[in-house]
């Protein structure tokens, strides 16, 4: 039964994307229906992964080296599950927040995005992963262009070129590996791969591609504008799901294929530290609400990369892994909730200017509460997923005696507290004018509560950390 789950996870998004594209007037209906089905399928997959021994699915009945094999791993499947949940709520949100012409494109595009995610998180084949990356990249570009302002178009063009260059680099890496080993399957490659110049060059290309697509600090130039100028649900999807996919690949490859030199992995972690501070400072300085959130994403990506500082330490690597996984889940939920809640605020205020948003806590309390909960998770205050992540990072840093990273984590925490509390204090101040209350619409209630659910989960799920860690083994 679980065996057919994997083709089902391919078929469903493909079919619903077709339906949504064909009947564009009913795109929202098909989108939300897809969200529900996809989420339940991913739950089933999680259940299957938890109960069955690891299995692989061979497409077309052809065994691995020749055909394409998908194998659900615990970590990948759980990210897929979280992504499906975020997607479902974002779809519900988009139904009420986008205009009809935008909806007609939003749903098919993001349904395709789900297809890409399935491929990236489940595939064992490095070429199929390339196709998945292409799907994700194209969807992301299309989605970020939905807001047809010149700024958004320009940002999405920059995004398109960056993602194309990155895809090209990744493909080059795949080509070199295939030319060298004649294999594309990850588990078939693991035993034969050797530390040789061509292999290392291929890895170099792949790493650069991942860094560019994940928007790691010096290569993050495209992210802020693309995320900040897209429509709200799109920003949520882009920052919560899209960059995670490539980060997951980077981690997966580093953990299985790459024969990293210690210095290189350290270098990645230093990039992470740079990202934490660069993103944090830019976020603190930005006067545009959505830009602030986008820069905060750049900063949070840095936390994900910190795992490379501990990947081949002598200490227990599972601790750093837990830290990274929780940072990922926390950011996925908190950031999507943050964006969606900020979307409500922006929609009521009709401006993204932060200084004009004073006192919104009394106008849309639920969204401000959602933002506060997200902030708790992003700063890493207890008890939130972000806190668990920070805890494990601090513990790994202490046990491996990497004081530099210890201080970086603390400093990053202070920085994110600075810009997030700045925002929260502003929201809690006196409203500039009372007339805003009139602009509230009925649909805002749904919007507020979907955002709240995501933010709340980013805090509340921490109480299940023990089971989550046990599940991921």
């Amino acid at each position: 039964m679980f065996n057919n789950l994997i083709p089902a996870l391919i078929i469903t998004p493909a079919l619903f994307a077709i339906l949504g594209f064909l009947f564009s007037k009913r795109a929202a209906f098909f989108g939300i229906a897809f969200g529900l089905i996809f989420f339940s399928e991913s739950l089933l997959l999680l259940y299957g992964v938890a109960t069955k021994s690891p299995w692989a699915y061979h497409f077309g009945g052809w065994q691995a080296p020749l055909g394409i094999a998908f194998a659900p791993l615990r970590f990948g499947s759980s990210i897929l599950g979280v992504s499906a949940f975020v997607m479902l709520l974002t779809f519900i949100y988009a139904r009420f927040s986008l205009q009809e012409s935008q909806r007609a494109l939003f749903y098919p595009l993001s349904t395709f995005l789900a297809l890409g995610l399935v491929v990236v998180y489940l595939s064992q084949d490095i070429f199929t992963i390339y196709v998945g990356l292409e799907i994700i990249g194209l969807c992301a570009v299309g989605l970020s262009a939905l807001q047809k302002s010149p700024k958004a178009l320009h940002a999405s063009l920059v995004y398109l070129f960056s993602t194309l260059v990155a895809s090209g680099f990744y493909l080059l890496g795949v080509v070199i590996i295939y030319a060298k080993y004649g294999l594309l399957n990850i588990s078939a490659l693991i035993p034969v791969i050797q530390e040789e110049l061509p292999t290392l060059v291929a890895f170099g290309f792949m790493v650069v591609a991942f860094l560019l697509k994940t928007a790691v600090f010096p290569l993050s130039f495209w992210l802020a504008n693309a995320h900040a100028n897209a429509p709200t649900p799109v920003s949520a999807l882009l920052s919560a799901l899209v960059i995670k996919a490539t980060f997951y690949l980077m981690y997966l490859f580093a953990a299985t294929l790459f024969i990293f030199e210690y210095e290189l992995s350290y270098f990645l972690a230093f990039l992470g530290v740079g990202a934490i501070f660069y993103g944090g400072i830019k976020a603190y300085l930005s006067s545009d609400l959505k830009l602030l959130i986008a820069y905060s994403t750049i900063s949070q990506v840095g936390y994900l990369l910190l795992i490379f500082a501990f990947i081949d330490e002598h200490t227990d690597p599972s601790m750093a892994f837990n830290a990274m996984a929780f940072a990922l889940f926390s950011h996925t939920l908190a950031k999507s909730g943050f964006f969606l809640a900020a979307g409500v605020v922006v929609h009521i205020a009709q401006t993204k200017e932060i200084s004009a948003l004073q006192g919104y806590a009394s106008i849309t309390p639920v969204s401000v509460f959602a933002i506060a909960l997200s902030a708790v998770s992003l700063i890493g205050l207890p008890p939130s997923l972000g806190f668990v992540s920070k805890w494990y990072y601090l513990q790994s840093a202490y046990l491996s005696e990497s004081w530099f990273f210890l201080f970086a984590i603390i400093g990053g925490g202070i920085l994110s507290a600075a810009y997030l509390f700045k925002l929260l204090i502003l929201f809690l101040e006196h409203p500039l004018e009372e007339g805003h209350l009139l602009r509230r619409e009925k649909s805002h209630t749904t919007l507020e509560w979907t955002a709240f659910t995501l933010s709340f989960l980013s805090v509340f799920l921490a109480f299940f950390s023990n089971s989550i860690i046990a599940f991921m083994g």
Binding site: A17, I18, F59, W62, A145
Partner: protein, 220 residues
């Protein structure tokens, strides 16, 4: 000034990338050809005699399915970029081109079908055929914009999605007999040819839509 620096930097990087890559690629000695031996073992069950077609539509059909998705997706993404203006499209309409195209288009279409069919035993197949077809349609559109027939939007959309849809349907049918997209031996060639034909039409429509949608913008 900045542009110039950027360009020279780009040039410098590209040059070294090229040198390095060519050095590496010429020095690669493939370690393992087990995939090739497996490929030749499996060829009799693939339903076609040409290896590329067998790989694309049988052994690694999932990749092809996803790529078809990518092409459809790119069309949707182009829709998303739709700018809000109207202008008269390019056209090269005169008697000579008219007559020329009247002969040329049927030839191109015929050649596309030939390429499609020949894909089973030599290089060719749906992608090349659809590219040819799309080229033909675009030429037709450029030369005879007035007599060019554009079907209703919904019908066009059906055409666009038909390739992916048919592919997924074949996959679902094959689920009843084995795994996703599993077809072997006697039935395989039928499936492959049918998929290729549908793909040619739908991809041809999508590829030509890239151009036609771009130039036939009407203000919404």
């Amino acid at each position: 000034m900045r542009n110039k620096t950027f360009h020279s930097l780009l040039y410098f990087l590209a040059f070294w990338l090229f040198v390095g890559l060519s050095f590496i690629l010429t020095n690669i000695n493939t370690l393992d050809s087990s995939m090739h031996t497996k490929l030749f073992e499996a060829m009799p069950h693939s339903g076609v005699t040409h290896e590329v077609t067998a790989v694309l539509l049988n052994f690694r059909a999932l990749d092809t399915l996803l790529e078809v998705g990518v092409i459809l997706l790119s069309l949707i993404a182009i829709h998303a970029l739709e700018p809000n203006f109207r202008y008269t499209p390019l056209s090269f309409e005169n008697t000579i081109t008219n007559t020329f195209v009247a002969i040329l288009f049927p030839l191109i279409a015929l050649y596309a079908f030939y390429i499609l069919y020949s894909g089973s035993y030599q290089s060719g197949g749906a992608f090349s055929a659809s590219a040819l077809l799309a080229g033909g349609i675009i030429i037709l559109r450029l030369v005879k914009p007035r007599s060019f027939f554009v079907p209703k939007e919904l019908i066009l959309r059906f055409l666009y999605v038909s390739g992916l849809f048919y592919f997924v349907c074949v996959g679902m049918i094959s689920l009843f007999f084995g795994s996703f997209l599993e077809y072997r031996d006697y039935i395989a060639s039928f499936y492959i040819i049918s998929i290729e034909s549908v793909l040619m039409l739908s991809l041809g429509a999508i590829l030509s839509a890239y151009f036609i949608n771009a130039v036939q913008r009407v203000k919404p």
